[in-house]
Amino acid sequence: MSKFNFPFIKETSELSNLRKEVREFITTCINNDEFTPSPDAWVFSADPSFSKKLGSKGWLGMSFPKEYGGHQRTALERYVVTEELLSSGAPVAAHWIADRQSGSQILRYGNEKQKSSIIPRITAGECFFAIGMSEPDSGSDLASVKTKGTRTKDGWKLEGRKIWSTGAHLAHYMIVLARTSPASEKNRHEGLSQFLVDLSLPNVKITGIPDMTGQRHFNETLFDNVELSDDSLLGEEGKGWKQVVGELALERSGPERFLSHFTLLDSFINEFRNSLIHSGTKIVGKLISEIQTLRRMSFSVASMLQNGESPETQAAFVKELGNKFEKMMIETLREFSNIVPLHEWPNQLQNLFEDATLRIPSNSLRGGTTEIMKGIIARQLGLR
């Protein structure tokens, strides 16, 4: 079990000061009506002008090197900033994927041209990304993707369909996982490659898919023989699987896995503090213990990333626990309606609650299902 340790990392006073600075900025934005806090904001709430503002504050691409416009700060500093943004429900969806995973992926595997043309724009909050993993026939079984990259005289031709592609309609690029040579019988993970695809290219067609809340963030992205330049390949040909697994560690371990509905919890407690003192201390204590443990673990993973480790399994732990916590939290709030009936809750709180109830099934699907997380953990335990 020693391999699943989550070493304790202290929040230094420098980090606490940064936290304060971000919090003050957010409070000012809310007071100036620049945004209304919303739930699941990192998926649903995109505001390019807010992203640009964060960029000018130096809070995007924080850990990226200075030569590419980054700030060479630590993953722990980035963690603190993301926590503050998430807990306040700020509109971060536009840049979220670029800042969380695509930028790091390009820095790690990209060529000089890719780095120098894209990273400074991500850092400025002007360049957004969508994820190009799932397909109509490939979800949990990611290695079965059928999107195909074929070599041409001057580059590559991309053909296939990606689905879900959250935010693709607002994004400038997508990192696409595609098959560039047939899978070998022994290892299906061979022959996959990642491409950095400009979504404004001809023959890229993005169609919205309304989700069950009626909102659009999902898309289907069609690549109908898209001509790609030679340097569109990201990283090494045939090494796409290894690259994508590293990308998923960035995707799964962050505080968005347990703070997506924090604004709901916060409003709930502010509204019902007096009733909770009499009949809800236990539920509040339970929620506090869960959040603090998750923060503690997620912060520890940030430090592993900072140290250049590959905490794929630890990321799966955080995601699995975080997903469970969010479901439990909404269920706990629902049970409280036994004390104050739901129809007596203020309208805004009712809306937040119903909205969360509606959205919560997606939390244990996006970024890898519960079943996949448990499978990853089982493999590390030597069961597979």
Binding site: M1, T281, M297
Partner: protein, 342 residues
């Protein structure tokens, strides 16, 4: 100190590997020479006084730093109250009482306790391993001052013996029993907090073992032509054990690293809630994946799960700490939740 601790951990593992086996656990009585031999080795290596001040002959390693030792002791399923002795001796030493040699157990609960003329009367409840020692620490509040009371010749009427859980536990009624030492306890020493942390560390050590037992059993046991571990339904259950355990371990290492002060006093509550909850899950799943063999006395799983059941109820169960934690926050009217958490 870190190096010193590492050597101690290594030595301890060796001692326990040498002595502890499942048959030892079936016969926890003072006449058992194997039990005596184990204790002698433990004592020769100074383990009972690891957190005792040097002036009393201890190693003076802070109590929070030795939690990894508590984990190891209980990972081996050691059928002796070494964990209780370490905490008791620490509290005695911090209260400027020279801890006695040998096993020292403690009482977390009492009824109608009266102290007069340096003598004590009343009921002392749920005392672990009282059959192995005459030394008992009682923490009791007297005229609004918390006192450490050491009895070195415990004697009285056993009014209840609980033995369906793995460790022996006794309720004892005493009358005009001599007190060996009585002194006020420092404010910084909260027996309930320390006890909750101790039990959590014990649970985590035991849960690690239960996870290992489950993985090993499911990898060896074949049904329907393949190992149980190849069934996805089994894999997912065992993954869940690992997830719960890792959350508890994370909560424990916070305290191991920074101790427990006024600023992070919530961490003890968080740890006990997390470990108690995990224990519930892990007890249920480990028995489920083991099938009937896990339900036998002969197989060691039940030794661990019985203790887990016992420890998760000691020093406040999850509800107790959840209420405490929730109340503490809710009564701070000026703070919203996020500010409070950070």
């Amino acid at each position: 100190m870190i190096e010193e601790l590492e050597i101690i951990l290594e030595t301890t593992s060796k001692i326990l590997q040498k002595h502890v086996n499942h048959s030892l656990r079936q016969n926890i009585v003072s006449e058992n020479t194997d039990i005596l031999n184990l204790w002698n080795d433990i004592e020769t290596n100074g383990l009972p006084k690891i957190s005792v001040k040097e002036k009393f002959g201890g190693y003076e390693i802070p109590f929070f730093s030795i939690l990894p030792l508590i984990k190891i002791v209980n990972n081996h399923g050691t059928p002796l109250p070494l964990s209780e002795t370490i905490l008791s001796n620490y509290i005695l030493s911090e209260s400027d009482i020279n801890p006695p040699n040998g096993i020292v157990t403690f009482a977390s609960d009492t009824k109608n306790l009266q102290i007069k003329d340096n003598m004590i009367s009343g009921e002392i409840l749920s005392v672990p391993y009282l059959n192995l020692t005459k030394n008992l620490l009682i923490v009791h509040e007297l005229n609004n001052v918390k006192k450490a009371i050491l009895i070195d010749e415990i004697n009285g009427e056993i009014i209840h013996k609980k033995n369906f859980l793995a460790e022996p536990r006794y309720n004892i009624k005493v009358e005009n029993l001599n007190i060996a030492e009585i002194r006020p306890i420092k404010n910084s020493i909260d027996f309930n907090f320390l006890g909750a942390i101790l039990r959590s560390a014990q649970m985590i050590g035991a849960m690690e073992k239960v996870l290992d037992l489950s993985i090993n059993y499911c990898s060896e046991r074949k049904q329907f032509g393949r190992a149980l571990s190849k069934f996805q339904a089994i894999q997912h259950q065992i993954s869940e054990m690992a997830v719960e355990l890792s959350a508890s371990s994370a909560a424990l290492s916070t305290i191991t690293e920074i101790g427990l002060g006024e600023k992070n006093s919530n961490d003890a509550a968080i740890l006990k809630i997390r470990a108690g909850f995990a224990a519930g899950k892990i007890i249920a799943i480990s028995h489920q994946v083991h099938g009937a063999i896990g339900f036998t006395k002969e197989y060691e799983l039940s030794y661990y799960t019985k203790n887990l059941n016992s420890w998760r109820n000691d020093f406040g169960n999850e509800s107790f700490w959840e209420e405490l934690l929730g109340k503490k926050f809710l009564e701070k009217n000026n703070k919203n939740l996020w500010e409070y958490l950070t």
